[in-house]
C-alpha cells in the first residue's frame, strides 16, 4: 500500500515534468526556455527518487524505468491536474502554481516523514519547489495584472483548471495507509496553506477565486482524461519497442 502512495506522488511529478518539457524550444522568451526545463528537471528528479523508493518498499525488483515506461494509462496514478494539456502560457503557469503551492507545504511536512529516504527526497524537493511557487506566482501576477488579453487568458485558465485542484487534497486508500504510517503528510491538512497562498497571489493578480466549482477527480483510481494516453504513448514509444534494452 505505502509504495502505491509513493507512486501517486511520483506520477504527479513525472507527468507534470513531462508536460513542462513539451515547451522546450517553444517558450515565449529565452528566459523561459531556461526556467521551464529547470522546473521539469526538478520534478523528474523527484519522481526518480520516489520511484526508486517505491520499488524498494514493493520489493519486487522494479526500478524507476519499470514504473515510468511499462505501466499503461489505467495504472498511472497521477491526479488529473498535472495531465491537463499545456494550453497557452497562462494555463501552464497557473497549473504550475496550483501544483507547487500544494507541494511546497507537502514536502515541508514530509521532511519529518517516518521514512528516511523520503525525508531526503523531501529535503531536496522543498527548496526546488519554493522556486516553482515564486516563478509561477510571479507570472500569474504579471499576466493577471498585465494586459487585457493576458488577464482574459488567465481567467480562462482558472475556469478550465480550478476544477482539478480538489483532487490534490483527497487521499486514496493507499495514501491513507501511508499517512497513518507517518510516511506521507495528510493531504487534507495541506489545504489551509494552499488556500492562503493561492488567495494572496490571486489578490495581487486581480483574479477572483471561482466559487462553487464542482471538483473533478479520478486520477488516483487510474480514471484519467483522454490526454494522458497520448502522452504515455509518446513517452514510452522507444522504451516499449526495445523492451529489456539498456540505455
Amino acid at each position: 500500500m505505502v509504495h502505491e502512495a509513493l507512486l501517486e506522488v511520483a506520477d504527479d511529478c513525472l507527468v507534470l515534468g513531462h508536460r513542462l518539457s513539451e515547451w522546450c524550444g517553444h517558450a515565449p522568451m529565452l528566459e523561459e526556455d531556461l526556467a521551464l526545463p529547470n522546473m521539469a528537471l526538478d520534478l523528474i528528479g523527484a519522481a526518480r527518487g520516489l520511484y526508486a523508493r517505491a520499488g524498494e518498499i514493493e520489493g519486487r525488483g522494479r526500478g524507476e524505468d519499470d514504473f515510468a515506461y511499462f505501466r499503461g494509462e489505467r495504472e498511472y496514478r497521477n491526479c488529473l491536474l498535472v495531465e491537463r494539456p499545456n494550453g497557452d502560457f497562462a494555463a501552464t503557469m497557473l497549473r504550475q502554481l496550483y501544483f507547487a503551492a500544494f507541494m511546497e507545504p507537502y514536502w515541508r511536512a514530509a521532511m519529518s516523514s517516518a521514512d528516511e529516504a523520503l525525508r531526503g527526497i523531501a529535503g531536496k524537493a522543498v527548496k526546488e519547489v519554493a522556486y516553482h511557487v515564486r516563478h509561477a506566482g510571479e507570472w500569474v501576477i504579471r499576466l493577471g495584472d498585465g494586459t487585457e488579453e493576458s488577464a482574459a487568458r488567465l481567467a480562462r485558465a482558472v475556469d478550465a483548471l480550478h476544477r482539478y485542484t480538489g483532487e490534490l487534497f483527497e487521499s486514496s486508500l493507499a495514501a491513507r495507509a501511508a499517512e497513518a504510517a507517518g510516511v506521507l503528510p495528510v493531504r487534507a491538512e495541506i489545504y489551509a496553506d494552499w488556500d492562503r497562498l493561492i488567495g494572496t497571489v490571486f489578490a495581487e493578480a486581480r483574479l477572483t477565486l471561482p466559487d462553487g466549482v464542482h471538483m473533478q477527480s479520478g486520477g488516483r483510481a487510474g480514471l484519467h482524461g483522454e490526454d494522458l494516453g497520448h502522452l504515455l504513448a509518446e513517452m514510452q514509444s522507444v522504451a516499449r519497442v526495445h523492451r529489456g534494452a539498456v540505455w
Binding site: 522546450c24 526556455d33 515506461y69 522507444v238 522504451a239 534494452a245
Partner: protein, 315 residues
C-alpha cells in the same frame, strides 16, 4: 590608418578589446554577425534535440537531455548578451533570424530520426563545435572570449554524454548497434561540413585571423576533428562512412593524420542556402514560438510599467 595600425598592435599584443573601446567598423560587423550566428545556432539547435525529450528511453536520459537543451538556451542567452555589447539588441537579432536573414549552423537543418541521433549529435556535432570554439576562448573580443570559456566547459560535458550514449548503444542489443551506426552514417559528413568550405573558398578567413577572431583555418580544424574522432569510432566498433578514409603518416607535419574522401560541396551549399531538409520547419517552429509568445512579452512589459508607475505614485 593610424587608428587601424594601433588597433592591430593591440590585437597582436594579445590585448582584449572591450565594448567601450574604439574598433574598426569591419571588426565590429564581423563580430556582430559571427556572435549572432552563434547565438542563433544555440537557439535553433534546441529543436532537433528537443524533438526527443518526450521520447527519451529512460528517465536518466530524459533528465540529461533536458539539462543539455536548457544549457543551450543559456548559451544563447550569454551570446546574445555578448552581441548586445556591440550595439545590437536581442529582439533585432531574433527578427533577423525569423525573417530568414540571419544564418545559423546548417547542421541543425538535418532531422533527428532516432534516439541514436541524440548520441551522435552530442558526440559529433558538439565535438566539432568544441573544435571550433576552443580557439574562440582566446578571441580578441573580450565578452565573446569570456562567454566562450563558459560555453566550452559545458559543451565538452555534452560531448562526453553524447559519446556515452553511443557507447551504451554499441554495447547494447543488435537493434541498438544498428541505430548507432545509422546515426553515424547520417551525421558524419554534415559534421565535417560544420567547419565550413575549404580554406581556398573561404574569403573571410584571412581577415578574421589577422583580427584574432579566428585562430585556425577551416581545414586545420576539420583535420583536428577527424584525427580525434576516427579512433573514437573505432573504439565504439562503428564504421566511419568514408571508404577513402585512411591513415597517412606524412600529415600534420609528420605526426600523421587521416586523409578523408571528398566532401559533397553541392550539398553543403544547398543546405547553407536554406534548402536543408528541416530548414523551413526550424524557422517555422521558432517563429510560432515567438508569435505565440508575443502576448506574454507584452503582458510582462505592461505589468512592469504599471508597477513602476505605482512605485512612483507611492513615493
Amino acid at each position: 590608418e593610424e587608428f587601424l595600425a594601433a588597433f592591430q598592435a593591440r590585437i597582436d599584443a594579445e590585448e582584449k578589446i572591450e565594448p567601450k573601446d574604439a574598433m574598426p567598423e569591419g571588426y565590429r560587423r564581423t563580430l556582430v554577425r559571427q556572435i549572432g550566428q552563434h547565438a542563433h545556432s544555440e537557439i535553433v539547435g534546441m529543436l532537433p534535440e528537443g524533438n526527443w525529450i518526450t521520447r527519451a528511453p529512460s528517465l536518466k536520459r530524459k533528465a540529461v537531455l533536458l539539462a543539455k537543451v536548457q544549457d543551450e538556451a543559456g548559451h544563447g542567452l550569454y551570446l546574445y548578451c555578448a552581441a548586445e555589447t556591440l550595439g545590437v539588441t536581442r529582439d533585432e537579432m531574433t527578427e533577423e533570424l525569423l525573417a530568414g536573414k540571419a544564418k545559423y549552423s546548417s547542421i541543425f537543418n538535418y532531422p533527428t530520426l532516432t534516439w541514436a541521433d541524440i548520441g551522435a549529435i552530442g558526440w559529433l556535432v558538439d565535438g566539432a563545435a568544441i573544435m571550433n570554439q576552443i580557439p574562440l576562448c582566446r578571441c580578441s573580443f573580450g565578452p565573446y572570449a569570456r562567454a566562450m570559456i563558459r560555453i566550452c566547459k559545458e559543451e565538452s560535458f555534452h560531448q562526453r554524454q553524447g559519446f556515452e550514449i553511443m557507447l551504451t548503444l554499441c554495447r547494447g542489443t543488435e537493434a541498438q548497434r544498428a541505430m548507432a551506426q545509422d546515426a553515424l552514417d547520417r551525421w558524419w559528413w554534415p559534421s565535417l561540413m560544420m567547419f565550413g568550405p575549404h580554406d581556398a573558398d573561404s574569403p573571410h578567413t584571412e581577415q578574421s585571423m589577422t583580427w584574432k577572431i579566428k585562430r585556425f583555418t577551416n581545414d586545420e580544424l576539420r583535420q583536428k576533428f577527424i584525427d580525434a574522432t576516427v579512433p573514437q569510432a573505432e573504439y565504439l566498433g562503428l564504421t566511419v562512412p568514408d571508404p577513402e578514409l585512411r591513415w597517412d603518416e606524412t600529415l600534420n607535419e609528420g605526426r600523421g593524420g587521416y586523409r578523408h574522401g571528398s566532401i559533397d560541396w553541392d550539398e553543403f551549399w544547398r543546405v547553407v542556402e536554406g534548402e536543408g531538409p528541416m530548414a523551413r520547419d526550424r524557422i517555422a517552429a521558432r517563429k510560432k514560438a515567438w508569435d505565440d509568445g508575443a502576448w506574454v512579452r507584452e503582458a510582462a512589459l505592461a505589468h512592469a510599467a504599471k508597477r513602476a508607475a505605482r512605485n512612483v505614485a507611492a513615493e
